[in-house]
Symmetry: D2
Subunit: 341 residues, 4 copies
């Protein structure tokens, strides 16, 4: 029986989430986890039956029993770890974004390509049944030729100023998921971006030269238009909707709620708020993306969300930033080397 052994690099919230999910799966086990700060990890790791804890991720790269690593460390470390992991012949699951610089990302991906390993980027929404249904409907031709895509993507509360300062900005940190979703559902590359932004929620975000509210227009290679709406603060919960419209119809994806209950009283008719945030909303998607990654390695199947997908979303984010600053639409060249593992 196949059994994949993996190492987790970075024991923050998302690294721990992947570890816990993996330990409940068949055919895969966490052999080791590394973090620059490992104090206090003992109990957690022992409860999950993770045998090795280390503060040096190179221990994982040097462990011949580990076939794949999950890179969950800060974004600034991703690219160099990818290079090292690729040289060590480890398959890679890397959280988004790969880096804050398209050039840096491109170099890291060349190392991946050269090593011939598999690499998956953590665009978890591709594994959500709702968004997958939207893509399937578009792909099946049910809505005909796509004309318009709309993504509404709003977080329930803004991150701390400290987080914002290291996030790479709204487009690279938050909208990058929507850029990926746009390519995933429309199955066409983005060739033009125009971005509007505003600082309406927390003045501290503005002081850090970032925005918290945005509307981003896209034009796709197939001629369709797209628009993404972002806010860092939807007080009613995580607002994650999408609509693709075409010559033969329209598919809309709506929010998930804790229950289907509807309560009617003399005050009004009320239903549940959307699920609070990404951990609640994408619980199953986080599990499914790892399952698919494991299966891709064990059975040599294609990666649903590969290195090139990571690169392309970063390119769009970069163009959006440029558009925001220079206040005009920015064109994206289509001829980009496709690194498709």
């Amino acid at each position: 029986m196949f059994m994949l052994q993996v190492g987790i690099i970075g024991a923050g919230r998302i690294g721990k989430l992947h570890a816990a999910n993996i330990q409940q799966m068949s055919h895969v086990r966490v052999r080791a986890i590394s973090d620059v700060c490992i104090s206090g990890l003992d109990n957690w790791a022992s409860e999950l039956n993770i045998p090795v804890i280390t503060n040096d991720y190179r221990d994982l790269l040097n462990d011949p029993d580990i076939q794949a690593v999950f890179i969950c460390s800060p974004t600034s470390t991703h690219a160099s770890i990818i290079q090292e992991a690729a040289e060590a012949g480890k398959h890679i699951f890397c959280e988004k974004p790969i880096s804050f610089s398209v050039e840096t990302t491109r170099q890291a991906l060349e190392a991946v390509e050269k090593a011939g390993i598999k690499m998956q980027v953590g665009f978890n929404r591709r594994f959500d049944l709702n968004f997958k249904k939207a893509r399937d409907v578009v792909q099946a031709g049910t809505i005909g030729i796509p004309h318009l895509l709309r993504i509404t993507s709003r977080d329930p509360e803004p991150p701390s100023p400290e987080y914002v300062s290291k996030s790479g900005g709204l487009f690279m940190d938050m909208t990058i998921h929507d850029f990926d979703m746009a390519r995933y559902v429309m199955q066409s590359e983005v060739v033009e971006v125009y971005a509007q932004g505003a600082n309406l929620i927390d003045p501290k975000i503005g002081e850090l030269n970032d925005i918290d509210t945005a509307v981003i227009n896209l034009r796709f290679a197939n001629g369709a238009l797209g628009v993404i709406e972002n806010s860092r603060k939807a007080v009613y919960g995580y607002d994650q909707r999408l609509e693709a419209f075409g010559s033969k119809g329209c598919v809309s994806i709506n929010n998930e709620r804790p229950s289907t209950a509807v309560v009617a009283t003399s005050d009004g008719v009320e239903m549940d708020k959307p699920l609070f945030f990404f951990l609640e909303r994408y619980t199953q998607a986080y599990i499914q993306e790892v399952r698919d990654f494991v299966r891709s390695i064990l059975f040599n199947e294609p990666i649903v969300c590969n290195a090139n997908d990571g690169l392309q979303a970063e390119r769009i984010a970069r163009a959006a930033k440029e558009s925001l600053v220079c206040r005009h639409p920015v064109t994206l060249e289509l001829k980009t080397p496709v690194i498709n593992t």
Copy 2:
């Protein structure tokens, strides 16, 4: 050009509603209105251009220009007025119920049959687009062979004890609409009734020997089962839903609301309450039932909701009352003389 002239007997809420609706229609005019108490009607009638006001309904029956009468007087007067109107050769629109006694109703209908006039009963819900759609779906065979019918019918607030005392009881006053709807949607006669009731809302209703909450089970001639849920007080508004289930599917009719607005805040996600009561909910149905009545007369088309429909709903109401009292199911004979004008 055809022009139907009608007389309205009874200038209460419903008589006035019909008059106002008629005066906005083509091909029909209110020529006269009668009520035992006509003081204060002048302004209202003059604004609606109704030329004649009288306190004797016989003036309407004797007026050769009047071809049809709307009987909107108290239920206790319906049957005798029907007899007189039939003898006078007037077509009849009669509010429900025709009478509180199946025998009395039957005699009135014999007069109608003998006179060869048209008679429509005021089951306004048949003219609502939602309920009509349910019937059409059932009739088209979309749900296959009907197995189960459910009607949820709840008023927003109980009537006054004075009204209750003259109403004929919950089944004859309120559920009678649901009994008619059951026959209309299922297109099959009711052959068995079992009724449960309770006095949960207003003790004064119990003191009048009536109930305010009920569940009534039906069995149809086609073998299907049915259930009606009634309450005199749904604090969130008029609750009017129906569901027909069969071998190939299910059709559900839901409440109408003032707007489609959904408001999401940190407190929850809220939509509008259902429309308040029958005047708001069935505004268009009240107009349509009169339009159809007028057309039936002018073009000699069949009545959507005829005298027999009035009789049958009363028979079910009567059986429900008997079941409630004797606490066992009551069988209804199918062989009833069909008075179908």
Copy 3:
């Protein structure tokens, strides 16, 4: 008792609609209708009890019994008729747009201002209960400070090439309603516009130098962002939705459907398509806008949708066209003379 006499200029689809609605109202009557082509109008006018038909609109302006005119003739004639009607002291209801040139419109409005008459522009959606609810919710502060407005506005089928050629283009013909709705709901002026367009539906529209699909970005004086999505062809029906999002929540307006029926079969779960087009969707709004116009005149109340509202929507449409052509955002000066009657 007050009674307003009006004249209708232009007996096309919309002129006839207003005439028919008016004839069913209290306190207002159509005294005359004019059109360059009056052959075949006789029967229709006689059925509606409209006494005068003429092929010269000046007959209406010269009739001392007519206090107000409805300008429903082609757009190219609006401005000069407004000038004449204002000079004749008639109150004016003018269909949108007032003209295709902001300067022309401005001159017409100066005549209105000088004459001291009332003028309403035919932005019928302001009188729809759904959109009114959205505005009321925003105005009440329920969603806090507005951050983002989204309008989805799609027609069920594109107009004929002949219509398109005289329409003034998508923004002036179709989006102008959405521009007005944006100002109405957000209660703030638009200060920047960026427009993307495409010709995806009918190549003939492209040949006429027009577009059929568009995304238009707005920035409001209060700092909020807005986005409008347009398509000339939504095969499932007239798609009219709006969402306003702010610091304390979100209000969404959805489509109206012929019935609330939901049909579940082995093939799926289906509900009604949206109402087909503007005549079905805004039936009540067309009635209400005239009712409010009549009341504004009879009781000297403010116009819900005045001449300045017409002007501002045209300015935004003009800016959108410029943005589309020059491919960069266009700024709108706020200091415009407000003509508020």
Copy 4:
């Protein structure tokens, strides 16, 4: 760290489901599984790391390391195994119904009571977040004093005639879940039952003296009324809804669907069908009921769904059967010995 060891008696569909769920949980492990037919179980058990397979459930009762057993064998064996397990001092999780005879069940429960062990009955729906929300809303007083409960419970396809013949009949096999749900949500005992049934789906079910369509009326000790609608065949999927109505409002629970997608085309507007059947619909509930059972034992907390709950649902099912046969309502005595572990 606590660790509960359990044995599974019966390796059918539900026994295997519990085993698989348990092996993914913390603090509990399946130590052994028994079935009269164990051929072919090896691979499955080894993949799940279940060390012991046996064809004699007594091996589990005799194993001192096993603290609790899951009784998933045919209903006819439940009562005697309960007696033995209780005598062996094992905590018991027993699938519904406990037996087909209220007297037999009562005797089994006396053994449980005497042994002082914990016993949970497999009413999985209590652990579904939707139904739990309905109960919470009722308990919180949001709907005021409960007046009416409605449960719509329809399976997607009828079981095989062989299954039906051993099922104990519709009420004992299927409606028993609804009877439990009625008690759970209303928090009041059922004191009267009236049942209507029909054989409309599969004639073979009728030949077995069973029904496939039913409406069951309930009267609760608190005066409220209830109604349950059952069908063995809803072609559009598992239909599981509930509505509780009271003096201050109403709470409704609706179906769960695979996705929130809505697809609009010229053919109509379609959404997903409900989840197919109980395994899909109650996936999380099956996990949660076991988690709660484990916690109840490890931390000596009350059982959510105890032996008395099993008994009461069976009493109602028995009364429903009696009502169906004798065609009149049947009264249930309230004074039943409460076996509350």
